[in-house]
């Protein structure tokens, strides 16, 4: 597994104007979670134009299908017409998961509606809201998600309480 460089991965997506929403563990980090994540999860519009942008963004990152036993390289040229619903990739900038639908939230349009713009050093990034993140983690309900739900729920409670 290569060293992850999530800022660079986010930068290439943003520079190629890929329409995406940051979801999963890295979105939790933006909200204040101290948990460390090893992949970058984004919700993506899987329409042909956005997939063309995604293919352009991933040029030079050596993307391969991480879940295939033979680790097949991603065919960037035919990506817009390949009919993927999700992409689980390993790139030289780290692991990137692009999802067209998020458990507990819904399709990309729902992710977009339940996201906020964050101004970061990398530019403006759409990030899933804390409430939607909690919903998705509750729906996924793996051991790591349960821990994340506790952290995120505590963050929400701390934000809603007057300073002590």
């Amino acid at each position: 597994m290569p060293d992850s460089d999530f800022p660079s991965l986010l930068r290439v997506l943003a520079q190629a104007q890929v329409q995406f929403v940051l979801i999963g563990g890295y979105a939790a980090v933006v909200h204040g979670s101290p948990m460390v994540t090893h992949d970058l999860d984004v919700g993506c519009d899987f329409g042909p134009e956005n997939l063309r942008r995604l293919a352009h963004a991933l040029l030079g990152t050596e993307p391969i299908h991480r879940m295939t036993p033979k680790r097949v390289p991603l065919d960037l040229e035919n990506l817009p017409s390949a009919g993927f619903k999700n992409l689980y990739l390993s790139t030289k900038l780290g692991q990137l998961d692009c999802l067209s639908e998020l458990t507990g939230v819904g399709p990309f349009s729902a992710m977009w509606n339940e996201s906020l713009s964050f101004s970061t050093e990398l530019g403006v990034v759409r990030v899933l809201t804390l409430d939607a993140l909690i919903k998705s983690k509750q729906a996924l309900d793996r051991p790591r998600d349960r821990e994340a739900v506790h952290f995120l729920s505590a963050i929400r409670a701390k934000r809603s309480r007057p300073s002590e």
Partner: protein, 88 residues
């Protein structure tokens, strides 16, 4: 990219509840871990919420930077090999 609200952080902070309202977040149905007191529940689950307090003092960019430093350290440690001369 997309329009930026003047202060993205501010939109995440709900306004304070009116005086006399002791529980601004009504318990969600279903008996989930967030139902009663999420902070007490998280502590009972074994989480160190001082880490959250530290993260909440940072800006989103600083949180990302801090995370990436931790991830880099993880990568370094993962590749580390035992040193026969280390003496332990």
């Amino acid at each position: 990219m997309h329009p930026i609200p003047p202060d993205p952080e501010s939109s995440l902070r709900p306004t304070r509840p009116p005086a006399g309202v002791s529980n601004p977040d009504p318990a969600p149905p279903g008996g989930d871990p967030t139902a009663s007191d999420p902070i007490a529940e998280a502590i009972a689950y074994g989480l160190d919420l001082s880490l959250v307090d530290e993260c909440l003092r940072l800006t989103p960019s600083e949180r990302m930077r801090r995370h990436d430093q931790a991830l880099r350290l993880y990568g370094l440690l993962r590749r580390a090999k035992p040193d026969p001369n280390a003496g332990f």
